[in-house]
């Protein structure tokens, strides 16, 4: 077990959601085991965030790949060193060194530079939109908790 607040089952489910977010499918057994092991051996991954909002981003991200992406977009701007970002970056590191996922992560799509640059502009706009959506979701939840 990695941490009293993070049982193995929770970490495995978190790994599945985050891997689906990053590469579009479930992790293999090796990646799953490595993700859990990382939490056992690197205390920085389990160390809670000081700000409640940053912890809520993690809770939001665990709910599914699309919410993980929105929470990540928000964290990148407002909480770049939060626990969510630490976990996602650690998982990315695991996936990039495993033969089964390395190429998926780092093979160019081909096509023209102009189309790529246009997509980059759209991605930036979409990432901003996702970050905003995540903030709104957290705000609604807070209102719901109060009300």
């Amino acid at each position: 077990m990695a941490d009293a607040s993070e049982p193995t089952a929770l970490l495995e489910e978190e790994c599945r959601v985050f891997t689906r977010y990053l590469v579009g499918h479930d992790p293999d057994a090796g990646a799953l085991a490595a993700y859990v092991r990382a939490h056992e051996r690197d205390a920085r991954l389990s160390h809670p965030d000081a700000r409640a909002r940053d912890e809520k981003l993690l809770l939001l991200a665990r709910r599914g790949p699309r919410r993980a992406r929105a929470a990540d977009a928000c964290a990148r701007i407002f909480a770049p060193t939060s626990r969510l970002r630490r976990k996602l970056v650690c998982l990315l590191a695991v996936l990039e060194v495993r033969g089964s996922t390395a190429l998926e992560l780092d093979t160019a799509d081909g096509g023209s530079s102009a189309v790529f640059l246009a997509r980059c502009v759209l991605l930036c706009a979409a990432a901003g939109g996702r970050a905003l959506a995540a903030l709104l979701l957290l705000s609604f939840e807070r209102l719901g908790e109060r009300g």
């Binding site: 090796g30 996602l88 970056v89 650690c90 590191a93 780092d106 093979t107 799509d109 023209s112 990432a127």
Partner: protein, 527 residues
Amino acid sequence: MRLHVVGAGASAAHFALTALERGFEVVVLDVGRTRPPAVSPTASFGELKSELDDPVEYFLGEHFEGVVLPSDETEYYGFPPNKAHVFAAEERFRLASEGFEPLASFAKGGLAEAWTGGVYPFTEAELVDWPIGWDELRPHYEDVARRIGISGRADDLAEHLPDHGGLMEPLRLDDHSSSLFSTYEKKRERFHALGCRMGRARSATLSADHAGRPACSELGRCLWTCPTNSLYTPWLTFEELEGREGFTYLPGRYVDHFETDGGRVVRLVASRDDGEQETHDVERLVLAAGTLSSARVFLESVRRERGEAPRLSGLMDNRQVLQPFVNLRRLCRPWEADAFQYHQLVMTLAADDPRASVHGLVTTLKTALIHPIVQSLPLDLKSALFVFKNAHAALGLLNVNLHDTRRAENTLELGPSGELRVRYVPPADEPTRIGAALRRYRRALRMLGCFVPPGMTHMRPMGASVHYAGTVPMTDEARPLTTTRDGRSRDFENLWFADGSTFPFLPAKNLTFTLMANASRIAATVS
């Protein structure tokens, strides 16, 4: 005739080899942390990810120490776990610093176990403050070049990188470097008008089989320690020396201090890894443990002798600034996995004072762990991955090096509990120099068809380049805390300094090649 040498880095290796060839009996004392054995030596970087039983442990480390997690001070690459021995802390060597982030190595092979193989001779102008000139150093550059194998050629950079002889053909250029170089060649006159020149890197990496080592097979594993030893490190010289008569390597020894009879060193005191202390009677002592470690041994010894240790001044290091760039012509292309990983091109900027020229190493991104870069993009990771994988083949990094001079305010001294205190203050004109160099480099990069992303320039802290020098300088002026032109201490008759401590000036270049050549030169004169 016996010589005791402290340390086992680049300087010690070539001092020891030359001294042995001259007939000296050489005893090297060293902490001597060793590198792990190479795994799957014929597998490429990509193949390792599929072939290893546990690629996560190999690439990220048993404790995931190779993962670069988000922090306020992100570097663009993580340090490979299999090089942990190079910078592993030594509890007996305590440091305190101000304005400097010092690194020391207790590995067999020293800091050069983690170098990128750049070998750059100093020019006549850069040796002006030295008591010796190019003609005295050149034969030793050539000897070292023949020993270690250096690929490169005399080209547009000849003014900055003099030809010392003994060069092999350059390595094959990777596709991205080749594209940059051909653009430079087409616009050469415009670059020269800017005072900018580009040429092939000089690398201690074999382009042809040499002295029992194979030519670089482009496995893309340079950063994870070359598994075929095509990339030279001083560890190889020690492996060779250990089989020779007259040479003794004593690992597991941390040299604490030496004892003297007032004017001569008579004994060396070292502690072993098991905690026991041992002494060695000394005829001649050579400190070649690197500027910081040699200074600590010297200062500790003087303190025991005289009750008070002096302060050594003049510490130098190269400020490094990292400038990422994107070659727009290479977007959306596949990146090249099987290639030499480190820099293959050099871009220099001329200055009115030739000693103040700037040296930039151009590294195109090939094999590397990508998560440190992907996380630095201002997007969610999924979007950042899309951007990165389509830009991978277009990415590069210019590592800008600036020169340093000996200044009184940059010092080494012993603290009350024996720790080495390092104090460094950058020169007042440094921001101006950096700003001017970056403006010219950005213009040059644009002329190469590259985009320079705003806000991603990274100024590395002082100490990060690990090009330390200058605290016991060579000079013809006889005064304490200096050496003669042949590295002989003016404080103790049978003591020599054979490392960067003796450099009177540090140009904007990797100093390792000059460390080796100068150590060999000093060994050639020891009597």
